[in-house]
């Protein structure tokens, strides 16, 4: 019951964010960015924290989603929903197709192949100059207002935030449903003791594949929103540094807890935003915060509070 109240309170705070965030020196787009990264990291955490697959190349699917959305708007049709749909499908399909390459590997080899695949997509986007804009990134598109029959939803900064909040809510609901289902229980069991569950008759690799695909679709969805937020995307959105940052955010907040990544993202993005306006060395400070949190809260900030509740 407490939990429901806490979630309701957070959601109300998110709905009201365009009013209160500027009062404490923020801006609405920062809220959008936090929610977008929260979608991405919570999606990744289905694989990382709940299934135990060390994906260190998740930015690939984020970036594919972003490029998919940007290129749809630029070359295909001026439709925001279509851009989101196509970007999500492109990134998710890539993860689904590459899953079999990844699913057999364990531990550090899993991490290595995911990084390698990520870097492959990074180089494709850099080299495929004419279409992707190469190193300079993909510009020349912008999110389009959404028409519902006679209704027009103008995607200004605030309204776009609400679109992102809707996406966040849907993604959270889907992930929650999955993690509460037998599929989610299977993921957690694989993380806990792969051999035991294999001996119950579970074909473990298939489920690692499923987790990889789900994480891919959700991260790609976040990527599409990111491209729409900035009306821009670049190879940095597929780079391993971003992949690493995703993992850092998750570990900061707590990889064993459902909402842990959201907390991690808030710490990371806010710190990045404020620190980078003060010092060019902001990454050092992030590193220090990271080390402190890992030392003080080995299970992440939320992991301490919610050790049990989340895996049920």
């Amino acid at each position: 019951m407490n939990r429901i109240i806490a979630i309701a309170a957070i959601w109300v705070a998110l709905v009201a964010l365009p009013w209160w965030l500027p009062l404490i020196g923020g801006y609405t787009a920062l809220g959008s960015k936090v929610l977008i990264y929260a979608i991405a990291t919570m999606g990744l955490n289905v694989l990382l924290g709940f299934t135990g697959g060390l994906s260190f190349g998740q930015a690939a699917y984020f970036g594919l989603g972003a490029y998919g959305a940007g290129m749809t708007l630029k070359y295909l049709a001026p439709s925001t929903p279509l851009a989101i749909l196509i970007g999500t499908l492109v990134g998710g399909a890539a993860a689904t197709l590459l899953g079999p390459l990844v699913m057999r590997r364990r531990g550090i080899y899993f991490a290595m192949i995911t990084i390698a695949i990520g870097q492959l997509f990074y180089f494709i986007m850099v080299r495929w100059n004419e279409v992707t804009g190469g190193e300079d990134g993909l510009a020349g598109f912008s999110r389009q207002d959404i028409h519902f029959g006679p209704w027009l939803y103008r995607l200004d900064e605030t309204n776009f935030y609400y679109l992102v909040l809707l996406g966040f809510t849907v993604a959270v609901a889907v992930m929650w449903m999955v993690l509460q289902s037998p599929l989610g229980h299977t993921f957690v069991a694989i993380r806990e003791n792969r051999r035991r569950i294999e001996f119950l008759g579970v074909r473990v690799e298939r489920y690692i594949w499923a987790a990889f695909a789900i994480a891919g679709f959700i991260t790609a969805f976040a990527g599409t929103l990111n491209a729409l937020l900035f009306n821009f995307t670049s190879p940095q959105d597929l780079h391993w540094i971003l992949s690493g940052n995703f993992v850092i955010m998750i570990v900061l907040g707590g990889m064993r807890s459902f909402f842990g990544p959201l907390i991690g993202v808030i710490i990371f993005v806010v710190a990045q935003d404020y620190l980078s306006s003060i010092t060019g060395n902001w990454m050092t400070f992030i590193g220090m915060i990271f080390v402190l949190i890992v030392l003080l809260f080995p299970r992440g900030v939320l992991g301490i509070l919610a050790r049990r509740v989340e895996v049920r």
Partner: protein, 269 residues
Amino acid sequence: MTAATMERTGQDGRPPAGKTGPLLRMDNVSRHFGTLKAVDGVTFEMHAGELRAVIGPNGAGKTTFFNLISGLLPPTGGKVIFEGEDITGQTIVERVAKGIVRTFQITEVLPDLSVFENIRIGVETALRLNARPWISRRERAAINSRVFELIDIVNLDGKANRIVGELAHGDQRVVEVAVALSANPRLLLLDEPTAGMGDHETDHMVDLIRRLHRDQGMTILFIEHDMDIVFGIAQRITVLDQGRVLAEGEPDAISADPRVRAAYLGSLE
């Protein structure tokens, strides 16, 4: 999910072949590791409803023998036949589906999860729900009641919400048995179920094995070092030594067998 699948206990729906012949037949089965003959030409039969112990000195090949039955290792020779069907080439997963379920010599649980969660994944797997990304209230209720039924069978009532990794060793092993039971075994293989347990814990496990056999008619094959347990509950005993069957028979015959006494029992007494 139907009531029928929920209630499959291993006694129903047995194909006719199983009624006449043995449940399990190991036909001249070997497993060599290089020059080491861990299991060497073992022929072995077990009938449904039996409670059988496998004994033998350390390194006799008992665990390897279990690995051959459960499919963890392929044999280097011979055939594994279950209910008249040759399953030598079948995987672990296929054998579990046929009802060959095991526990391990080393405790294998999901340590960070509760007793309830450990057993629930077993129940969901037995119902083949693993791929389902949602669950209805009705299904959840049916699953939960089956989990509590298993918790009740193994006498872990009151510990459902305890984290398994924080339980006493004996209780962790009982959780393993409950998880194995969730798979509706036709043949339950227990590798040293009482290893490392105190007297009280051992009594609990022995009582559980006896009850499973008596009340549920379960076919159980267990590896055990404690001769009091072996001679106390087993109906038949198979003695392995250096990968071969040294002797096989009812407890009285085994304890009287001079070869067994010489090779094994004598050294323990």
